[in-house]
């Protein structure tokens, strides 16, 4: 059977983006990418993905707007509170044994997860000795993440999540509210490096003790998932920790055997001692 037009157009558009802008979406899960691109083409006034391709190739501005539509997942602070309480109970005691710590938040988007981890580490007295690498493929969202500013109407949900995650203080201790926005404490910034990094095309850049990469892998196909998990394995120190999304799994990856379950219900794994 001949491929549908839209599937041909999708592939051509993704190739065009790769050739022109070196952003590689070729390993993304097709169904959600197609939905995002189709809804984006409407926003840019395009009837077809071919029209969108024309715009994307000739207007870098359109591409950067498109990139944001393609890469910003809905996130919230302390999403899945039990993930964070598991980190507190099962991972933090082991992290305490290291004199200095490095954490990698891969696919950090607008930073909600980064600040959640920074707050958790501060509450556990570990932030002072920690450096968090927060990476994403989208420079615009990295800027937003670095600013640490969120709409005030989202804070109630964040506060509730923080409390459920076993938060030791009030979330309001960590931000200042002004003009309908909550600005997170600048002191967090000293412990966070925001940086451009692609799980599809870049390699390992540091040795870390904890990788947190949640609800990013679901947007990848199995091959790209495998590549990303390989990077995490290589980046982690001996017996380092990996946290992924609550509905994500290692079982389709050849790297599954490099990890053991630490808190399976919350998708926290530990790298094995031996390869």
């Amino acid at each position: 059977m001949a491929a549908d037009n839209i599937d041909i157009e999708l592939r051509l558009l993704i190739d065009a983006i790769y050739l022109k802008y070196h952003h590689d979406f070729r390993g993304y899960a097709a169904a959600s990418l197609k939905r995002r691109l189709t809804s984006a083409s409407g926003r840019f006034g395009c009837q077809t993905l071919s029209q969108l391709q024309d715009k994307v190739l000739h207007e870098p501005k359109t591409f950067s707007a498109l990139l944001s539509l393609l890469t910003v997942p809905v996130s919230e602070m302390f999403r899945d509170p039990t993930y964070f309480s598991s980190l507190r109970d099962k991972v933090v005691p082991l992290l305490r044994t290291y004199p200095s710590l490095r954490v990698w938040v891969a696919g950090c988007s607008t930073g909600e997860e980064v600040y959640s981890l920074a707050i958790l580490l501060r509450e556990e007295g570990l932030l002072e000795r920690t450096l968090i690498y927060a990476t994403d493929i989208n420079p615009q969202t990295l800027q937003k993440a670095a600013a640490g500013v969120y709409a005030i109407d989202r804070i109630a949900g964040f506060t509730e999540n923080h409390r459920k995650s076993g938060g030791r203080a009030s979330l309001s201790d960590y931000y200042t509210a002004a003009y309908g926005r909550a600005v997170f404490d600048k002191s967090f910034r000293r412990h966070i490096v925001f940086s451009d990094h692609s799980l599809a095309t870049d390699s390992v850049f540091a040795e870390v003790h904890l990788v947190s990469c949640r609800n990013v892998l679901i947007y990848f196909n199995r091959e790209l998932q495998n590549r990303a998990l390989g990077l995490f394995r290589d980046a982690l120190c001996r017996k380092g920790f990996l946290g992924i999304g609550m509905k994500e799994s290692l079982r389709f990856s050849s790297h599954a055997r490099s990890f053991v379950d630490l808190a399976y219900e919350d998708r926290i794994f530990q790298k094995k001692d031996e390869p």
């Binding site: 169904a31 939905r35 809905v74 196909n221 998932q225 799994s249 389709f252």
Partner: protein, 208 residues
């Protein structure tokens, strides 16, 4: 139910969407699925997003088929009922493979019926059956239209028999349904979808 008998050979997947009143409706439909069903069954039932779902456990007991929560990247197995997990969209990808996403809510819902139905229609085309049941939401109407457009079979619960008819009415406004039936008759139709040797059917689309 002659039409249904003719259909059975080409249905590889059934997608079901329900909202308010959906648990009761599914309690009538799912036990009717025959143990020999060849199709995969995917279900979106709107539920509170913040709680883990007990649906797979509840329905496993009432169902002759394997019932489980959908997992990202698993291959769709025949004769298996998959529930979308709370707070994730469920999509179908080539394989057919299941995929999850946390993209924005659709009709205030995640999982959304539209997302499941539209992506399933892309993958299964005319080998898909879409069923819209009771609910107080317009989710599913666009999705059922996609199923119809791609040549799939569309079934809508008869509005009078729905606990809350808004969802089925919205679906009927957008799509000419192949069947508009009360719940018991949809169950009856599902019962006839027992597997037979696909090769015996002239309607068979496989092995082309």
């Amino acid at each position: 139910m002659r039409v249904a008998e003719a259909l059975q050979y080409r249905i590889d997947a059934i997608v079901i969407g329900a909202s308010a009143g959906g648990v009761d409706a599914l309690s009538v439909l799912l036990p009717a699925l025959p143990a020999s069903l060849r199709a995969s069954v995917f279900i979106v039932l709107h539920l509170p997003r913040e709680r883990p779902s007990l649906l797979p456990e509840i329905f496993a007991r009432k169902c002759a088929l394997r019932v489980k929560e959908a997992e990202d990247k698993e291959l769709a197995a025949p004769g298996t009922v998959y529930f979308a997990p709370p707070d994730y969209h469920l999509l179908l990808d080539k394989g057919p493979q299941l995929a999850l996403s946390i993209d924005e809510l659709v009709h205030f819902s995640r999982p959304s019926i539209d997302v499941l139905f539209e992506t399933a229609a892309d993958i299964y085309a005319e080998r898909l059956m879409g069923i819209i049941l009771t609910g107080a939401n317009e989710d599913g109407a666009k999705g059922l239209a996609s199923v119809h457009r791609r040549g799939g079979v569309t079934i809508v619960q008869e509005p009078d028999s729905a606990q809350v008819p808004l969802m089925v009415l919205s679906a009927l406004r957008q799509t000419p349904a192949d069947f508009v039936l009360p719940l018991e008759q949809i169950a009856e139709l599902l019962r006839t979808l027992a597997s037979a040797e696909p090769a015996e059917s002239p309607l068979c689309q496989r092995g082309k």
